[in-house]
C-alpha cells in the first residue's frame, strides 16, 4: 500500500438499480490523491462496463449531500451513487 499521506480512504455506496449492477452495496477503498467523484465512478465503470451506461442518470453525494462530479475526495468521505429517486 502506498504511504497514507498519498491516499484517501473513502466509503462508497450504491443504491437501487446501481446496487444490482455493481452487485454490492458498500465498499471501502483507497484512492490516489486528488481523485474526484467522476474518477471514482470511472474506476467502477472500468470494472463493470454495464455501469457506464448509467452515468447520465446518476447523481452523486458526498457525506450525505448532493455533490458535483468534480468534487475532490478527502479521506473519510462517504460517497454514494444514486439513481433517480422514487420515494413517496
Amino acid at each position: 500500500m502506498p504511504p497514507v499521506s498519498q491516499t484517501v480512504r473513502v466509503k462508497v455506496l450504491f443504491f437501487g438499480r446501481l446496487k444490482d449492477v455493481v452487485r454490492q452495496s458498500e465498499e471501502s477503498l483507497y484512492l490516489s490523491d486528488a481523485s474526484t467523484i467522476e474518477q471514482l465512478f470511472a474506476l467502477y465503470a472500468g470494472r463493470i462496463p454495464e455501469l457506464a451506461k448509467y452515468r447520465s442518470s446518476v447523481v452523486a453525494s458526498r457525506n450525505q449531500e448532493f455533490a458535483a462530479w468534480d468534487t475532490l475526495l478527502r479521506t473519510g468521505d462517504e460517497v454514494a451513487f444514486l439513481p433517480p429517486v422514487s420515494g413517496g
Binding site: F15, S57, V59, S61, Q64, A68, P84, V85, S86, G88
Partner: protein, 159 residues
C-alpha cells in the same frame, strides 16, 4: 449540513405499518385551526400491470437529512406550525401507506400549500427507491433525478 429539527416536528423512516390517526392527533395544537395531510399508499397496478407488492429502500442517513431540510424549508416559506413526514421502508402490500405527511397551521391555505410542497419535494430530492414486484418479475420504478450541483465552487480553500 444538517438542518435543525423543529422540536415539534416529526421526521421518521419506519419499517412498521403507518397508522395516520395517532400521528394527526399528535399534531393538533390549540393555537392552530387546520391540519392538511397527504396519505400516499400502494396502488394495485403500474403501467397497466398488476402490482403484487412494493419494496422500498433508502439511503437512510441522507434521506432523514433531506426530509429535515424539507421541514425547515416549509417553516421558512409558509406560516405553519408543525410538520410531520413519515416514510415507510421494506415490503409494502397493496393499500398500505408508504408516506404520510401532515402540516398544521393557524389557517388552511398555508397548510395546503406546505403539504403539497413537501410531497412534491420529497419525491424529487429524498434518496428513497421502490422496486415494483409483478407476476412476471420486478423492476425499479422510474424516478426523478435529484438536482445536484454541476461544478464545485472553487472560491473556498479546502478545509
Amino acid at each position: 449540513m444538517t438542518a435543525p429539527l423543529d422540536h415539534n416536528d416529526v421526521i421518521e423512516l419506519v419499517r412498521e405499518p403507518i397508522d395516520p390517526l395517532p400521528l394527526v392527533r399528535h399534531l393538533r395544537a390549540p393555537e392552530d385551526g387546520a391540519i392538511v395531510t397527504f396519505d400516499g399508499f400502494v396502488r394495485n397496478q403500474s403501467h397497466d400491470r398488476a402490482t403484487l407488492y412494493l419494496d422500498y429502500e433508502a439511503y437512510e442517513s441522507m434521506a432523514l437529512g433531506k426530509m429535515r431540510e424539507i421541514a425547515a424549508e416549509l417553516h421558512e416559506k409558509y406560516p405553519i406550525d408543525r410538520v410531520l413526514i413519515v416514510h415507510r421502508l421494506g415490503r409494502l402490500e397493496i393499500g398500505e401507506t408508504s408516506v404520510f405527511i401532515a402540516v398544521s397551521a393557524p389557517h388552511r391555505a398555508a397548510a395546503f400549500d406546505a403539504c403539497r410542497f413537501a410531497i412534491d419535494t420529497l419525491k424529487r430530492t429524498v434518496p428513497i427507491w421502490k422496486k415494483e414486484y409483478f407476476e412476471d418479475g420486478a423492476v425499479w420504478a422510474d424516478g426523478e433525478l435529484p438536482p445536484a450541483p454541476l461544478a464545485t465552487p472553487r472560491a473556498k480553500p479546502a478545509s
